[in-house]
């Protein structure tokens, strides 16, 4: 389909008047991550509709190159030697060095599972890479020549690392982990940050984010290296899900990390008391260090925060003087949606799915994923210029469903989208929620929606006949929208289109020997209920470990495809690991610890 690029002529304050000519771009364009070239000439965009890295020339205001990659681009970073580091793929993860002038690969290194962030330490010869589904950060030496580079160290970190922020003159790296790693019945339960010592390659400390923190998406360090700002959600998961008003289920936050003290200073809410700032996805700091810009993927906006004014409020509150009427104590900042009032603005981008933001000299660049637009906005949000566009992802039924699933504006006051509890492609947030469909006071662990339509009934108790019903119930009872029918079909299509990732426990795509041994135990002990291609018989059983309000309740047999990434486990998420599951929900047959470990290995390989 042909799509005509539309240009808005605008005079950005301090910018020259840009005259552009109309051109057509028929390819699907879905920009996500952005990287501003440090020497200023280019902006690099990840276009994940076609595994492409796009170069945009800031001077000519035109696309000036592109590189086709074989797998999806997970992240990119600037190399000190002028090249660009690109991370691609899942099971066959790769670190690729790209020459920005020629837009050609300078070399690549095969890595672990879903390399998700890369940073240099000291020079471009030593890089650290976060391996999302290995829950590790790897040190790569000799990276100047990637083909000959070596993995020197593998450090285990928190759950699903997605960001690396070097600081203290590269002596340390703040590792951003996406999901909570505890049992969901534990308190606190929250994503945790790791502090990695780059000298000895060890985790030297951990920073606990506020209870309920999940889906950590991005972070940025200020120009002086004093603070890191990390965006994430704070789920108010302990409450019944009866309302959305005032962040009753989900709040959207930014944690301020004191890098001098290696500690959490506080967490501020991006939300206002009457409207959520849903799904913060990316953060950038202005070149003058004064403003923070957060891409809000759920509300299609940029949230611009006056950084100095925010720190003044934080410091003042610490000294007992609270500058907003709703605040009563320093410790309450994470619960105060009035805290940033007057020092934070929202700029609608005019597009859909604002996933990337990068600071520019005279404003911000933004990537609108679903509407397929790369834009420049004036620093006060007053004017927006479309720089590149193509056929939007949201023109297909699946793409539309993908948009609706991630669109908080279809929810009451835009507090949350479906993706708030089902992030990362409709998977899990690691938390328990007390949905009202089976009474109140009996929270249940979030399920992945992968294969939900193929494995009816739905929900932990199987209370919904199938995922078609569950999707519409979710729109009505969780988003409080009366327009379920307007979005349901497309969301169904999107969810049905999801593909499982192969397990990181597989070796060369096959079951390991240990897993093969485990399969025997599984077939003997588990396969009656966990039967069929998705390992569920679709029935409900009262299980012995039920307690509390659910003591007598039968639970639906969950599918086990991709179970390696859906921790914690059991109906209330009481088991953080598969080994813990087998202690509670183990086989009838008495197995040795080694045998249990084999069984666990098999299940995690599914």
């Amino acid at each position: 389909m042909k799509h005509t690029m539309k240009y808005t002529f605008s005079l950005l304050s301090g910018c020259m008047l840009i005259v552009t000519s109309s051109c057509t771009n028929s390819a699907v364009f879905a920009p996500e991550k952005l990287l501003a070239d440090p020497n200023g000439a280019n902006i690099f965009l990840v276009d994940n509709s076609g595994n492409k890295l796009v170069k945009f020339d800031r001077n000519t205001r035109k696309q000036s190159g592109a590189l086709q990659l074989s797998e999806a681009v997970n992240n990119l970073a600037a190399a000190a030697d002028g090249n660009v580091w690109v991370l691609t793929g899942n099971a066959n993860g790769k670190l690729i060095k790209v020459n920005p002038n020629s837009m050609k690969e300078e070399g690549s290194l095969s890595l672990g599972y879903t390399p998700s962030a890369v940073c240099e330490v000291g020079n471009s010869n030593v890089v650290w890479v976060a391996q999302r589904h290995n829950n590790e950060v790897w040190k790569i030496e000799g990276a100047a020549n990637p083909a000959a580079a070596k993995v020197a160290t593998k450090v285990t970190v928190g759950r699903e690392p997605i960001g690396l922020l070097p600081y203290a003159d590269d002596a340390k790296i703040l590792v951003l982990n996406n999901l909570p790693e505890e049992a969901a019945t534990q308190f606190p339960t929250a994503s945790t940050l790791d502090i990695l010592d780059t000298q000895n390659g060890k985790v030297m400390g951990r920073i606990a984010l506020p209870n309920g923190t999940t889906d950590v998406k991005d972070g940025v360090v200020d120009k002086q290296g004093d603070y890191a700002y990390v965006v994430h959600l704070i789920a108010r998961y302990q409450l019944p899900t009866n309302q959305l008003d005032r962040g009753w289920m989900m709040t959207n936050a930014m944690s301020v990390i004191d890098l001098r003290g290696d500690s959490l200073l506080t967490t501020v809410l991006l939300d206002t008391p009457q409207r959520g700032a849903a799904n913060p996805n990316d953060i950038a700091i202005s070149l003058d260090n004064n403003m923070l810009f957060v891409a809000l993927a759920g509300t299609h906006e940029v949230c611009a925060i006056d950084r100095n004014a925010m720190h003044e409020r934080i410091e003042s509150s610490r000294e007992g003087k609270h500058l907003v009427p709703s605040l009563k104590s320093f410790d309450d900042i994470p619960n105060d949606a009035g805290f940033l009032h007057g020092i934070r603005e929202f700029y609608p981008t005019g597009g859909k799915g604002t996933r990337g933001v990068e600071a520019a000299t005279n404003g911000v660049y933004v990537a609108d994923y679903f509407s397929g637009e790369f834009k420049c906005m004036a620093p006060d949000g007053s004017a927006t210029e479309v720089l590149l566009s193509g056929t939007p992802l949201m023109e297909t039924v699946v793409g539309k469903g993908d948009l609706y699933f991630h669109d908080a504006t279809i929810a009451f006051q835009a507090w949350q989208s479906c993706a708030s509890c089902h992030p990362n492609g409709a998977r899990v947030d690691g938390l328990n929620w007390d949905l009202l469909n089976d009474g109140m006071g009996n929270p249940k662990n979030t399920k992945s929606l992968l294969l939900a339509h193929a494995t009816p009934p739905c929900m932990i108790t199987g209370i919904r006949k199938d995922a078609f019903v569950a999707v519409r119930s979710g729109i009505k009872y969780i988003l409080f929208s009366n327009a379920a029918e307007s979005y349901g079909n497309e969301i169904d299509a999107y969810l049905q289109d999801l593909q499982p990732l192969p397990s990181p426990y597989l070796v060369d795509g096959k079951l390991s020997e240990k897993a093969l041994r485990g399969k025997e135990h599984f077939d003997k002990n588990c396969a009656t209920c966990h039967s069929g291609s998705y390992y569920t018989d679709g029935k409900q059983y009262a299980v012995s470990w039920n307690d509390g309000a659910d003591k007598e309740k039968a639970m639906d047999v969950p599918a086990l495809v991709e179970v390696w990434r859906t921790a914690p486990y059991l109906y209330d998420g009481r088991a953080a690991t598969m080994d813990e599951v087998l202690q509670i929900h183990g086989p009838a047959e008495k197995l040795s610890n080694d045998q249990l470990s084999e069984l666990s290995e098999y299940v995690l390989s599914l």
Partner: protein
Amino acid sequence: MKTRITFLLGGVALFLSSCTQEPARLHAVADTEGFKQCLLANYDGIMRDVSVISQDSLRRRIGDAHKELQGNYPILYDWWLQDGEQVNWFTDSFASQLSNRMKKHQLTSEADVNKSLDTYIHACVKRREARLARFSKETPEVVFTKFRVFRPSFFAYTEGLSDARNERCYLPGTELARLKMDGVWASETSILKDSSGVIRDPEVHFDGKDLLFSWKKSLEEDDYHIYEMDLASGKMKQLTSGLGFADIEGIYLPNDDILFNSTRCGTSVDCWYTEVSNLYTCNREGNYMRRLGFDQVHTVAPALLSDGRVVYTRWDYNDRGQVFTQPLFQMNPDGTGQAEYYGLNSWFPTTATHPRQIPGTRKIMATVTGHHSPQHGKLAIIDPEAGRDENQGVMFVAPMRQPKAERIDSYGQYGEQFQYPEPLNEKEFLVSYSPTGYDAPQPMYFGIYWMTTDGERELLIADNENSCNQPRLLAKRERPFERATTVDYNQPNGVYYMQNVYAGNGLEGVEPGTIKQLRVVELEFRSAGVGMAFNEGKGGGSHASSPVGVGNAAWDIKKVHGTVDVYADGSAFFEVPARMPLYFQALDSNGYVVQTMRSWSTLQPGEVQSCVGCHEHKNRVPLTDHATSVAMNKGIQSITPSVINPIVGFSFQEQIQPILDNHCVSCHDGSKQKMSLTGDLKVIDQQTKRKYSEAYLNLTHARKTSQWNDSWQGNAEHPEVNWVSAMSEPTLLKPYSAGAATSNLITRLKKGHGNTKITPEEIDKIALWIDLLVPFVGDYKEANNWSGDELKFYDYYQSKRTEAEAAEKEAVRAYMQSLTL
């Protein structure tokens, strides 16, 4: 205009047939010569008189000048007024008045006054063209109403009911009109005129084609009802009906249902004799009329926000003074989520009303007025996100300035007057405005103005025979968010979840663990007012009609439903009857009140409403730093019934006197012990029209008041028996501010006063009586000293209310049935 209105027999449909259109009337500047002469003549005349007439006469003389100039040259004189320093411009030499005005246009005056005035007027026209360029570009249309400004004793008494209990605000002579911009001048056409009726509250549908309004055609043969008109054809439909019921202030809801205020609740205000309006909903045909608000007194001026919430003014004075308690509230269109929007625990603004969202923002524009005031006053932008109390989130326009948080009953009744704003964007708005306000002879005639928040203004339309009110932009607008309803009329109950009672401001300084229970109390409102007590306290003074006790005792009849547990972590999770005004009291281990809610809350059937704690700031979100609460783990509790079971209104005679008879009157008979605790109803209070007992008057330390009347008034601050006065301040009270916990009587009885055999349960009952604010009657007709006529008066409204309740029950049934079809 000659409009023939055809009433279809027995039907509710009306047609404006053969509507002879009056030609449009252009409101432009004309006869500048006449204006100049009139201006100079008035100036000269006043200057001549200034030294020879009294101040009062002078004031009148100036007022007459305003009236003449405004009446004949509205736009020209408005320019003259707005370019001057003050409304009373008859001070200086005319030349300097003119020269100062010309300076505002960067002009210098000439010796020839006539010529200078021409230059000045020309500059004003040019300025108008510049100011209105953006607004008038799309030739916008506006509907508005003409009626005489409401002047009730309290701003919300505007129902003008055909069988009104008492005062009746009804000033006939009305028109529904349409304004269309023709260049920078407005042309006016009439839609509907009624010389003996009042048309009010126009509301444009999201499609920009249909219009809701309220119309009362006669003083005693009709009441306000909601009508809908297709503006293109003039076809009209009457949605509500019924003589004796007023339906006003209708708005469209996102699902096309209607929300409106109605006197169908059948109650009467606590502090006067007038009828109350509460919020109701029905469909666009007027069917399935259901009550959403179960409120003590008036709810006023509902408006829809883009996120689907309804914002309205709720008069709110359970257990506190009535003067400063007209905050803004919010609810969802199905009546769920009723909660504070602005100023619930606040002196200022005295009243905030006529809320309208400023498009593209999360702020509203509202009229800030007084209590004993008309509806007009000052104009504000309210941003609840900046703060929820006093002046924290209030900015006055125009120009923008933060007002002082003052405590004034008739607030804002000076200088220029605003009412019924219609914000267009962050800068511009339409408003019904009078620059002269109280400085011109009454009644006030408002004009329809275009204005900016900085104070630029242009008069669009004025009428020298009536007031122009309620401008509403006649345009298509985005349909607000349609929130899914969770109301289920099959369920009798709703559920509250409270995260942590200690989290709010209401229990500041209270040691966690102190609160053991919440008491759930229902309020029962009166059907009519007979007799008057007089209250006075920190919240001012007031009457209480059909009083529940002596002055300063509870406003309303209290029915205790019982208690629910508050767990060690401050959490609670409990079920209560829906569709009922309830309030909560936080109790300590003795069962005494630590803090009491001086407002009320209502759930819809099947609603689950959560709160953080005891009056937490509404800009806060739930607390993150705690595990799943005990309440959540324990599940939903039912209310444990109180010592008074079955649930009835708390009556001193029924509950307390038997205890006194058993244990106290053997000594306290008035002679052995001077303080009589006898229960005979022998003290007749001519003012309250109640028969009191000596026991009740003595325990409340009542004295006859000399204020207003000589009714009996209790001493709420007496060390022996003290309670939160009905006239307590609107702001939050400190925990343990009064009640059983601070009353010596309870301590005395517990110690075993006079060797009585009074049981702990009996002491608890007395404590309960104190904590309910010492009510005397448990039924409005109890212990009355009413005449036959007064009884008939009360019963008339009582039975009307009962019938309305039955009709509503039937409407709910029909609604439920409609859902199954």
